[in-house]
Symmetry: C2
Subunit: 392 residues, 2 copies
């Protein structure tokens, strides 16, 4: 078990109707002027944004709005919001939405107190302690950004998508009402389930032996996502299924499922290049394609780890052939994602063989010459994994 530090300061307010408490909770924390940040039409049309505006007004809070965050949030809108936030003297950032909106809000909260352009943080990865406090009303459980230390931002002008991690940008308040997720379309629900599950896989497979306390917790979350996934897809208005998924989504990426381990994260790096190539590619769908391909390419480094995973999560009986057991576990993983309606090949995402060489240079820019932990990967390895993911 490796040395580690861990802090998760987020206060979670979980359950029916909790978005009504946003204004009061922000006022209790000393907020005065809030930057209200959100995505597109759905939060407006559902009436959620109006409920939140009313809650802020009832608590005598001022607020300015920046909407229009798109999936794979882009630096241009963030820069605009930073300028507005500076000019208006906002002291909190309130994100209403899913991972894209929250990631965008994290960049904004870093950028407002900063003199330089906020993209510099994504280039240099330098620590930044002066971050405005962030609150979140979560509408899409998936990315875990409501409690995580991470944000991932796209820069279309540079053709790049890259992350920034810091405990200082973990949200201070998160409001999680499972009812807000009843209307999520099946594809988006499924992509979210895939994203959660992959956050666990990235932490479970690395170059270390067992860390039972962390591994057992990680596996318990995999079991939850796997067992609740068909319930929530079959019955989208099932409060308990939605609630279990919403809370699991947070825990999958908060950090506890990986403490004391090295973790891997190669597959996320490979997927980020897909959505940098085509912002229309949903992160979870990209992961559903890339993870089984990565698994097939790397599993021989430690087939016993995959066999154990297959036994714990898919109930596979050991055959005596640990390599065969590992391959069965990989097949089950692909089948699980497919059962959710996720794609199984790059072709289904519109990515072709010629695209691979376009992604490798920015992958190298983002991750260096060698990345990953379970197996150290080079550009040649990345090319081979993308080819496996082509599915032909």
């Amino acid at each position: 078990m490796e040395n580690f530090t861990f802090v998760s300061p987020t206060e979670f307010v979980f359950g029916r109707g909790v978005e009504e408490e946003v204004g009061q909770k922000l006022a209790d924390r000393g907020a005065h002027r809030v930057l209200l940040h959100y995505g597109g039409r759905s939060a407006e049309e559902s009436g959620l944004l109006d409920r939140i505006r009313r809650s802020l007004t009832n608590a005598s809070l001022e607020f300015v709005e920046v909407g229009g965050v798109r999936p794979n949030p882009e630096i241009t809108l963030i820069r605009e919001a930073v300028e507005i936030g500076k000019a208006q003297g906002v002291d909190w950032v309130l994100a209403v939405g899913g991972g894209s909106v929250i990631d965008s809000a994290k960049a904004i909260a870093n950028g407002i107190p900063l003199e330089e352009d906020v993209w510099e943080l994504f280039e240099t990865k330098r620590p930044n302690k002066e971050v405005l406090p962030i609150a979140v009303v979560l509408t899409i459980p998936a990315a875990g950004s409501e409690a995580s230390k991470n944000t991932v931002i796209s820069n279309d002008a540079l053709g790049r998508k890259t992350g920034y991690g810091s405990d200082y940008q973990r949200p201070k308040l998160a409001f999680l009402n499972p009812e807000l997720t009843f209307t999520l379309p099946p594809f988006q629900t499924a992509a979210g389930l895939t994203d959660m599950f992959c956050h666990l896989l990235e932490r479970f497979f690395d170059d270390m032996g067992a860390v039972p306390v962390t591994d057992n917790l990680n596996l318990s979350l995999m079991k939850t996502v796997r067992s609740e996934a068909p319930r929530v897809l079959a019955d989208p208005d099932n409060y308990d299924a939605r609630a279990n998924i919403m809370w699991a989504g947070m825990l999958c990426h908060q950090g506890l499922a990986g403490v004391g381990r090295h973790e891997d994260w190669a597959t996320h790096a490979l997927e980020h290049e897909l959505s940098a190539l085509d912002p229309a590619i949903t992160h979870g769908a990209g992961l559903a394609v890339m993870f089984p391909a990565w698994m097939e390419y790397v599993f021989d480094e430690n087939p016993a780890r995959f066999a154990f995973y297959g036994q714990e999560i898919f109930g596979l009986a050991p055959t005596g052939d640990v390599r065969a057991d590992a391959l069965s576990a990989i097949d089950e993983t692909r089948a699980f994602f497919a059962s959710l309606g996720m794609p199984t090949s790059l072709g289904e995402l519109g990515v072709e063989e010629d695209d691979i060489e376009k992604m490798l240079p920015t992958l190298k820019q983002n991750k260096g010459d060698v990345f990953g932990s379970f197996k150290k990967l080079t550009a040649d390895d990345a090319r081979a994994i993308y080819r496996l993911a082509l599915g032909y």
Copy 2:
């Protein structure tokens, strides 16, 4: 799944040698004058206290010391420390020890900014927001007080032992070095393991149906404690076993293992009266006796829950008779505690039938006429459970 709020603001610094970072981390957080609080000889003789004094001095922090905390910490020493802390203007409380020292430190941190006597908080349970920040160097993994919202204090003059819960008294910093636990005697290690396991049982059994995300996480921790317990007892210097247990002990009582559930806590109430009766009774040993007795008394409320627990934790195969399966799970629980060297009857703790009537009045004072969730218990029920625990 019930509505809940959850916050765990503690920053954990985990691993070899982390106690050397105490001074710097406290200085980074703005500490100036620290109340250093500890128990008896062991932290002095091992050199741990000297390393911490040096770390504080190296970070240019002033400190005053109050040692001598006993198991089942008593209000008299707390009052003395509060007076010293007020007089000296301390701004942080640093606990070096196990649950008793940390619980004592929590009471002190509440008491220093308070005008009234701190025992009033334990009587009235009123919220207190003005709490000095608390740091912890943990030496005994068991109580989970290094991250929990709870403290339990004894008042010998009143013959009472009672708790106080508040998110404001959760420690802000916790230093967990598994090496510091190598020298724990087997009995204390075992009592700690029992305490952890019982923190999970209290949360698992209540009057609700399944909450998969919370239940799976809870069960994952039970599995960890159960599998690491024999390793750590057979090989006390095994760093990884000690590390898994130390981190599990925190997670068992931080709160995640019960969110969205009602939880029970009747058995802790029954045990607190034992150590109020005789402060020499170790909390974990008292729990080892009382939990199986409570289980036998209440399981008919929901035998399927016990049968499920037995399958998940002890690998029991369902027999088709759910009552029999539940009883097997209870037998396994008692056998698990016995395998750690814990007592199985009140007689082994020196408690006799006549003592039962002495405990019931203070139990009523602390918990009211009815307590518990899995089954609502009255004084008559409590008497019956204590009698079952007599073991004859």
